[in-house]
Amino acid sequence: MKVAIFGKTLYAGVMAALLAECGHQVFWCDDRLCELFKQHFPDESVNHLLEKQFASGFLACSDISTLPLDIDVYFFSFSPAEEAAGLALLHELAQRPVIHPKLMINASTLGLHGTSRLRQVLPDDDWIYLPDIIQEGKALNSFSQVTQLIVGCTDAAVQKKVREFLRPLFPREQQYLFMPVLDAEFTKLSISGMLATRISYMNDLAVVAEKLGIDISHVRQGMAADSRIGAAYLYPGAGFGGDNFSHDILTLSDTVSDTGVKSRLLAQVWDINEQQKELLFRKLWNYYHGDLAGKTVAIWGASFKENTSNVQQSPVHVMLKALWAQGVTVKLHDPQALPEIAALYGQRDDLVLCNDQYEAVKGVHALCLLTAWKQYWSPNYKYLLQHMQHPLVLDGRNIYDPEYVKAQGFAYMGVGR
C-alpha cells in the first residue's frame, strides 16, 4: 500500500521504519523535509532501521504538494502541543483532489475525542484510532511485539482494511482488539494512569519504608516476583516525567473530575509525583536544618529519563526552583540535555552547566542524582570525596549500594531506604 506519515514523534519514526521494512511504500511528510535524514530519535535501533529504509527506497520524504494522490493510508502522529498545526495540515489535505474514503489513522495523543476532532476536517474518510504505545529505550519491540493491538474501529469493512494494512506485522486475527474509538482513547489514558498509579504507590510506600527503617528495594523485588504484579513501573524515585505520559495523567484526571465522578485517586497520583520531584530537595533541607542559603549543590541528570534529551516535566525543574528559592547555586551535568536547560533558563549566576560530571561536583555541599544515566552508576568515589566540600550523596533513583557508598565515607540518602 501507499502510506503517508505525518508527525515527528517517535511513534511516527517507528511506524515509518516498520511499515517500509515490510514492503509498504512510505512517504514521510514533514515541513522540515530535508531535516528528516538528520533526525535522530533517542533510539539507535529506530535510527538504524530508518536509514536502511531510506537507502532501499521504500521510505521517501515528501511534502503535501508532491504527495501522490493515490495514497491508501494516512497516518497522523502529533504530540499534544502540535494539535493546532496538525489540524491546519488536515485542512491542506482536504484541498487536494483525493478520492475519498481513505484509511485515516489517528495515532496522536490528543486526549478524549481527539480522533473525532480530526475527523471533522475530513469527514468522508474512514477514521480509526491507533494508540501510541511506544516505550522510549525499546521503541521497535514495544510496538511489534505487543500481544494484542488496541484499535479504535468498529466498522467491519474498515477493520478488514486495517488487518490487511498491518498483516505483515500482525498476521493473526486474535492479535487485534477492536473497540469504539472513544473507548480506545480512554483505554490509552487508563493504561498511563495505571502505570503512574503504580509508581506513585511505590513512592508512597517508600516514604513509609524510610520511616520504618525498611529498604524499599527489597519490597520492590518481592512484589515484582509475584506474577500477578510483575516488575514494570515499580521503581520508587524522584518522580516520573515526560510530556506524553504527564499529559495523559492530567487529561485523565481532568476527564474524571469533569464527569462529576467523585474520585481523588488520579489527582493524588499526580500530587504524590509532584511531591516526589522535590524529594531530594527536602532531604537536603532536613540535612542542613533548612539553612541552605549560599550553598552549592551538584545535580547529575536533567532529562526525565536516561537516553533522551527530553526535559519536559522532568524533576530537574522542580529541584532548580526549590534550590534557587533558598539561595543555592546549582552545578548541573547531563550527557545530552544541557542545551535544553540552557535554552530554558538562560544565563544566570546560580546555575553552572558542566560538560564533565566530575567538574560539577567540585566544591559542592551535596550531589543529587536525578536521572539514571549509565555513566553515573559507578562514580570515582575517591575523586568525589576529595573534591566535594561535604560528602553527601542524594540518590534519587536508588542506583547505588547504600552500604558501599557509606563505607567510602559518604553520607548517603536514597528513596525509601
Binding site: 530537595f281 527536602r282 532531604k283 533541607w285 532536613n286 533548612g290 539553612d291 526552583k321 526549590a322 528559592a325
Partner: protein
C-alpha cells in the same frame, strides 16, 4: 466657602451649637418626603463623587442651611488645624504621648513630603512582600522542607478584625498561588477557633503569624503558646521549628526575640500606629497573602487617595468631613443614638464588626482633651449586618419600631465583572443576583426615608395601621464603582477620617483606649483564684464571690 467661614473666631462654638440645637428642634418635625418635594435638585446638591466613590447624603434630615451651620461647627472646632496636626508628627494622642501617623503607612515610596517616614515604612513593606512572594511561589517551607499551605493569623482586636475583614471583602481578588494556600484567623482567648482548626491542619505545612502590637496581649500569646506546643509535639523542640513556622508582627522586636521569633521573621511597625489603624502595616500580611503584592499596593493607594482628598477638598465636598458632620448632626441634634452599617455585598460581612471597633473604641469617650466632661454625646452605638440578611432580621425594627436609627448603605456598582477564576464560570447568573441585591438596597433606603410615600397612592387608601410605614429614617448611600483593593482602601480610610472629624467636633482623643485596660488587670487578679492557686476571695463583691464558688465546684 471655607475661606469665608475660617474667619469666624474659635470661641464661636457656643453660638454655632446654639444655632444647631435650634435647627435640630425645628427639624424634629420635618419629614424627608417634604424635603425632597421642596427641592428637585436635592440629589445633585447633596452628593459627592470622588474617584471610585459616590457618597449620597441627600436622604438625611437637613437642608443647605443646616449643612452650612455644621461646616461652621467644624471651623469653630478648628478642624482644618487639626487635620494639619494629624498629618504631622505631633503627639496628638496626648494620653499616651504618641503621634498618630497611620496615614504614613500608605505614603508612596517616593513621597517628597515625608521621605524618611516613607522609607521606613517601605523597608518593612518590601520585606513583607518578599515573604508573600515566597509563599505564593510555593517556596516557603516548614521544618521538614514541605511547602507551607496553611497560614494562621493569631491576633486580636486590630491585629485580627482588619485583616479578617479585608481578606474576606477581597475574596474575589484572591491571588492564584502555585500550591493551594488557605488563610485562617484565630483570635478568641478561650481557644474556640484553635480547637476547631488544629485537627484539620498538618504541622509540617502550617505557618503561624503572631500579630500583636505590644507582643504582650494575653489572648494572642495564649493561642500562640497552644500552637507552639502542637507544633513541637509533632516536629520536636528545635530552633528550626520556631524559625520555619512562626512569623511575628509587632512594635516590640525584643519581645518577639524573647518568645523565639527568628530575627528574619520579625516584621515591625511603630508606636505611632494605633492597633485599629494597623491593617495598612505588616499587620496586613494576611491581606497581602490573599490578594497579592500588587493588590496590597492598590489597597494602600486607595487609602492614600482619601488622605489627599481629606487634606485638600473643601469641607462641603470632603467626604470624611461630611460623614463626620452628618453623624454628629444625627447623634447630637436629632437625638438618633444608634447607627447601622448595611453593606449590600456579602463580602463585607465583617465590615460592621470592624467599624464597631474603629468608631466605638475611638470615640467611646466622655472626657475632653482639657480634662472636662464632654458636653455633647459622643460615639453612637454602631451596629449592622450584611443588608440582605438583615432584612430578614432587624429591618422590622427600622421600619416600624420606636427607635430612630441612621444607616449607611454600601454597595458596589459592578460585580462579577473581572473574570476572576473563583466565579468566572457562573458570572452571568451571579450578576443577576447582584442586581437583585442592588434593587433591594435602593428599595430599603427609599422605604426608610419616605415610608408610606414610597408605596403607590392606590395602595395607601385601604392600608390598616399595622401596615403603615412612618419613614423619615435618614441614611447615606455609598456606592463603589466596584469592590476592589483600591476602593476598599478608600472606604476604610473614609471611615477612619470620619472618626477623626467627630473626635475634633467633640474635642476628645480618639487614639487611646483606657477603657479596655482595666478589665485585663482585674482578670489577672482573678486567674490564680480559678486555677486553684489560692488567693483571697474576701475583697470581692458578693456576686463575683458567688460565681467563683460555682466555678470552683
Amino acid at each position: 466657602m471655607s475661606h469665608r467661614i475660617q474667619r469666624l473666631p474659635l470661641n464661636d462654638t457656643q453660638s454655632v451649637l446654639a444655632g444647631l440645637t435650634e435647627a435640630g428642634q425645628q427639624f424634629q418635625s420635618v419629614h424627608l418626603k417634604d424635603l425632597f418635594a421642596q427641592d428637585a435638585e436635592r440629589f445633585t446638591r447633596f452628593h459627592v463623587r470622588f474617584d471610585e466613590v459616590v457618597y449620597d447624603f441627600s436622604k438625611h434630615r437637613l437642608d443647605q442651611k443646616v449643612l452650612n451651620r455644621l461646616i461652621d461647627f467644624a471651623h469653630a472646632q478648628d478642624l482644618s488645624g487639626w487635620i494639619k496636626r494629624l498629618f504631622s508628627e505631633e503627639a496628638i494622642n496626648y494620653t499616651e504621648q504618641r503621634s498618630v501617623m497611620h496615614w504614613a503607612l500608605r505614603l508612596p515610596q517616593d513621597d517628597a513630603s515625608h521621605p524618611a517616614l516613607a522609607q521606613q515604612v517601605h523597608e518593612q513593606l518590601q520585606r513583607m512582600f518578599a515573604l508573600v512572594e515566597k509563599i505564593h511561589s510555593g517556596q516557603y517551607r516548614g521544618a521538614t522542607g514541605e511547602v507551607i499551605q496553611d497560614v494562621v493569623n493569631i491576633g486580636v482586636g486590630g491585629s485580627d478584625l482588619g485583616p479578617l475583614m479585608a481578606s474576606h471583602a477581597l475574596a474575589d481578588f484572591r491571588q492564584a498561588t502555585v500550591k493551594p494556600l488557605n488563610m485562617h484567623f484565630v483570635s478568641t482567648m478561650d481557644g474556640s477557633q484553635l480547637s476547631e482548626l488544629l485537627h484539620r491542619l498538618r504541622p509540617e505545612t502550617t505557618l503561624f503569624i503572631i500579630s500583636s502590637k505590644s507582643f504582650s496581649t494575653i489572648d494572642t500569646l495564649s493561642n500562640a503558646q497552644t500552637v507552639r506546643l502542637w507544633l513541637e509535639k509533632a516536629l520536636g523542640q528545635y530552633a528550626q521549628v520556631l524559625r520555619h513556622h512562626f512569623v511575628g508582627v509587632s512594635t516590640k522586636p525584643e519581645k518577639m526575640t524573647a518568645w523565639g521569633i527568628a530575627p528574619e521573621n520579625q516584621f515591625l511597625f511603630w508606636d505611632w500606629v494605633g492597633g485599629r489603624y494597623s491593617l495598612w502595616s505588616c499587620i496586613g500580611l494576611p491581606i497581602a497573602l490573599s490578594i497579592g503584592v500588587e493588590g496590597f499596593r492598590q489597597f494602600l493607594a486607595g487609602a492614600h487617595a482619601i488622605d489627599r482628598h481629606f487634606q485638600t477638598a473643601p469641607f462641603a465636598q470632603n467626604i470624611p468631613v461630611l460623614m463626620g458632620l452628618i453623624g454628629a448632626w444625627n447623634n447630637n441634634f436629632l437625638d438618633i443614638q444608634t447607627h447601622a452599617m448595611l453593606p449590600y455585598d456579602g463580602r463585607l460581612k465583617y465590615f460592621s464588626s470592624y467599624l464597631q471597633q474603629l468608631e466605638m473604641e475611638s470615640n467611646g469617650k466622655s472626657i475632653q482633651r482639657d480634662g472636662q466632661a464632654v458636653n455633647l454625646d459622643t460615639c453612637p452605638i454602631v451596629w449592622g449586618e450584611v443588608g440582605p440578611n438583615a432584612q430578614h432580621a432587624f429591618y422590622q425594627l427600622l421600619h416600624q419600631g420606636t427607635h430612630a436609627v441612621s444607616c449607611d448603605f454600601i454597595a458596589p456598582v459592578k460585580r462579577y465583572n473581572a473574570n476572576q477564576f473563583t466565579y468566572a464560570e457562573n458570572a452571568e447568573a451571579l450578576v443577576e443576583q447582584h442586581h437583585l441585591a442592588l434593587s433591594n438596597c435602593l428599595a430599603q433606603s427609599r422605604l426608610l426615608a419616605f415610608g408610606n410615600q414610597a408605596l403607590g397612592a392606590d395602595v395607601l387608601e385601604s392600608l390598616p395601621a399595622y401596615k403603615q410605614y412612618e419613614g423619615n429614617q435618614p441614611s447615606s448611600t455609598i456606592l463603589l464603582s466596584e469592590l476592589n483593593p483600591y476602593s476598599l482602601g478608600m472606604l476604610i480610610a473614609m471611615y477612619e477620617h470620619k472618626v477623626f472629624v467627630q473626635s475634633v467636633l467633640w474635642n476628645i482623643n480618639p487614639f487611646d483606649q483606657w477603657g479596655v485596660e482595666k478589665g485585663k488587670e482585674i482578670a489577672n487578679q482573678l486567674l490564680p483564684l480559678l486555677n486553684g492557686e489560692g488567693g483571697n476571695l474576701e475583697g470581692l463583691d458578693a456576686s463575683t464571690r458567688g460565681l467563683i464558688e460555682v466555678l470552683l465546684g
